[in-house]
């Protein structure tokens, strides 16, 4: 039972928590408390409901039901729980790619680079059929070879996903094999994200760092506000932005890729507080995708008379241009209807420079900095929010500690938005404490760089590109540098898939909260030792729920600097 006293570190959100309590509105935090205590079997991965003879559990404290009806023991149950999550997360990335390619193929959009786009469309078909041809060449040879040796080099989306999902249906695969299947599937997710990133560049043109504003204050009082929630087809987003510009509608986003040249969709808030924008009363229309969108949105939207339009449905409009025009038109109408509803917009916003691409950064200087010991390492901050933590506190504290200790922070996706809210992405903020070596390096990299560098949405493979370019610049594999990835407040299955992808690339990864594998000591052990053996990096899953973010940061700093302190991962019971 973990009860979180302080719900969020964001004052703007805190203001609305009081308001919600007064009005009797139930928010994500209330629902979480209603769920406590959460099922211990599911939390530790010791349950299964894959067939109708179940549901089964492996009871940790009783000998009579250690095995499921079909005979799955705790190791198989835990490893399959992870595999199930990874398949789900990977399919989310693949769905994104398929949405995008479909939009591009509809010929409704002007392509920046036709030749490259055609090539990438072909490659995404290749990825589907035979696991990609050109994309494999973009990874270091030794990396691909390692994957091949372990039998986890993708052989095609269809084949791999089908096969992996069948591991859940039966067979005698042990926990190690299940884990390797999970890694195989996660590699597909990584490749799909990389392809999507390249496709985005070839369709919309190269991204360059853009200044935008973050937090609830960006909602407008006198203009219709149209919010895009979750992952939507970039083509649809482009069309909506075009139409909205003509009709003077303010378009912003929540949990969506904030930058699509030449338009940007300023992030209003981040994952866990996604209901709060509605509470301002200033949201006139919501277009909702699937991933990262909580179904609770529709209840609250009803309360504030905000219409919600799903971005795609079974019989939805196929013509994206027409759909976009309808959406914007409806936003205007809804604004007129909703004039009687008071708009309570807090004046909280923070400027942020977002969407660097690895090409904008001088990676040679970074590797030199690493070699000369100017900076102690590079930390990749990733992952959205989780209601089990004080919102943003973990990420912000960890970033703060890293920056103080000369560790360069790279962030992506939702994590960037969390950090942006506290000024980590604002170059003009000088109250953020930086280590001497790090501030020298940042100054040498360019003028007006923020303290944390954002590499764009997690669905665009910015981090993958960054790591590959870093490897090229320093002529070493990324895993040979002091680099680590940290998911401080993760919650979605896409993040689990991404964490496995990082490990497969050789980047040690820390993941919070604990993954549902804690029920099996062998699986936990394999995530550190087996992964170390196969990929040269570990997936650190820590089960201690009360660990303070500062302690987490120190643990990671010790890992980067090579001081091996007492390690909890793999041996949570010791």
């Amino acid at each position: 039972m973990e009860f979180i006293q302080k719900k969020t570190a964001d004052h703007a959100i805190e203001y609305f928590l009081l308001k919600a309590a007064e009005e009797g509105i139930s928010l994500v935090w209330d629902r979480f408390e209603g769920q406590l205590p959460e099922c211990g079997f599911c939390e530790t991965g010791l349950s299964c409901r894959d067939c109708l003879q179940g549901p089964c559990i492996s009871h940790p404290f009783r000998d009579s039901n250690k095995l499921g009806v079909c005979g799955k023991d705790k190791d198989i149950l835990a490893s399959q729980t992870l595999l199930r999550l990874v398949i789900k997360g990977t399919v989310a990335s693949l769905d994104q790619l398929s949405d995008f390619t479909k939009g591009v193929e509809s010929n409704k959009i002007k392509l920046k680079n036709k030749g490259k786009t055609d090539q990438l469309l072909k490659e995404s078909k290749n990825l589907f059929q035979n696991g990609g041809v050109a994309i494999k060449k973009e990874f270091a040879k030794s990396m691909v070879q390692r994957w091949e040796e372990n039998g986890i080099l993708p052989e095609g989306i269809a084949r791999d996903i089908f096969k992996a999902s069948q591991k859940l249906e039966g067979g005698i695969a042990g926990f190690e094999e299940n884990l390797l299947w999970a890694f195989k599937v996660s590699i597909l997710a990584g490749m799909a994200q990389k392809l999507q990133g390249s496709l985005k560049k070839s369709v919309f043109g190269n991204t360059s760092p853009t200044t935008m504003e973050v937090n609830l204050g960006i909602l407008k009082k006198e203009t219709p506000n149209l919010l895009l929630y979750g992952s939507l087809s970039p083509v649809l987003k482009q069309k909506i932005a075009e139409a909205a510009e003509k009709k003077k509608v303010n378009v912003a986003g929540v949990c969506t890729d904030p930058y699509l040249p030449p338009y940007h969709f300023s992030p209003v808030t981040n994952y866990v507080s996604q209901e709060i924008p509605l509470m301002t009363g200033a949201v006139d229309l919501i277009v909702a995708g699937d991933q990262f969108v909580n179904p609770s949105l529709s209840h609250l939207a009803n309360h504030y008379e905000t219409p919600i339009i799903p971005a795609g449905g079974l019989n939805g409009e196929k013509d994206l241009e027409k759909l976009a025009k309808e959406i914007v038109e409806q936003a205007k109408k809804s604004f007129d209807f909703r004039r009687k509803i008071p708009r309570d917009i807090p004046e909280v916003k923070e400027s942020a420079v977002m969407a660097f691409s690895p090409e904008d950064l001088d990676l040679k200087k970074m590797t030199d900095g690493l070699n000369k010991g100017k900076i102690k390492g590079i930390a990749i901050l990733s992952g959205s929010n989780n209601v089990k933590f004080t919102q943003d506190r973990e990420l912000a504290t960890i970033a703060q500690e890293f920056l103080k200790n000369d560790i360069l922070c790279i962030s992506e996706g939702e994590a960037s938005i969390s950090l942006a809210k506290y000024g980590f992405l604002n170059p003009s903020r000088n109250d953020i404490e930086l280590g001497k070596g790090l501030s020298d390096l940042l100054r040498s990299l360019g003028k007006d760089l923020p303290s944390v560098l954002d590499l764009g949405s997690s669905k665009n493979g910015g981090i993958t590109d960054f790591l590959l370019n870093l490897a090229k610049a320093g002529k070493k594999e990324p895993g040979n540098y002091p680099v680590l990835a940290c998911f401080a407040e993760a919650s979605r299955s896409t993040e689990v898939a991404e964490a496995l992808w990082m490990v497969a690339m050789g980047i040690p990864t820390y993941f919070w909260p604990s993954l549902p594998v804690a029920g099996s000591a062998k699986t936990m052990e394999a995530l550190s030792h087996l992964c170390q053996e196969k990929f040269g990096s570990k997936l650190h899953v820590l089960t201690d729920k009360k660990m303070e973010p500062r302690i987490k940061a120190n643990l990671m700093i010790k890992d980067l600097t090579g001081e091996r302190g007492p390690r909890l991962s793999g041996h949570p019971w010791k």
């Binding site: 099922c39 010791l46 940790p60 009783r62 604990s514 029920g519 000591a521 019971w573």
Partner: protein, 150 residues
Amino acid sequence: MKVLIVDKTKCTGCHQCELWCGTEISSVSKELARAINEEPQPVPRVYVEGKQFALQCRHCENAPCLEACPNGTMRRDPETGLVYVNEPTCIACWMCVMVCPFGIINPSATMKVAIKCDRCRNMGNPICAEVCPTQALRLEERKDYHKKAF
């Protein structure tokens, strides 16, 4: 006295009471993820076996285990009326195990003591009632309990 009511229409047989009893009461680490791997295996004091019904010590008014215990290890707390095992003096004769009509006293082979629910007598509320997701287990004051028994 207070009695622990088990509502069989609400029990879904989810084993959460067993899991939390095992973690909070009998494990050393008091943390699920660690308790799972403890040796010897923690022993929960509540049983969900066969039926959708959680069974723990009823703290009988006329408790056979109290009668059967040869050296006064099985005791009743005079204030609360709860029956408990004074573990240091248990000689592992298993008489209580044999006479319990509900079969809720567990002989612990590794620890050589009888293990039995004391309804968390040192805590405010029994952990099983606390965690029950459907509130099939709940603590209630029964004033007429004595009257009915006699």
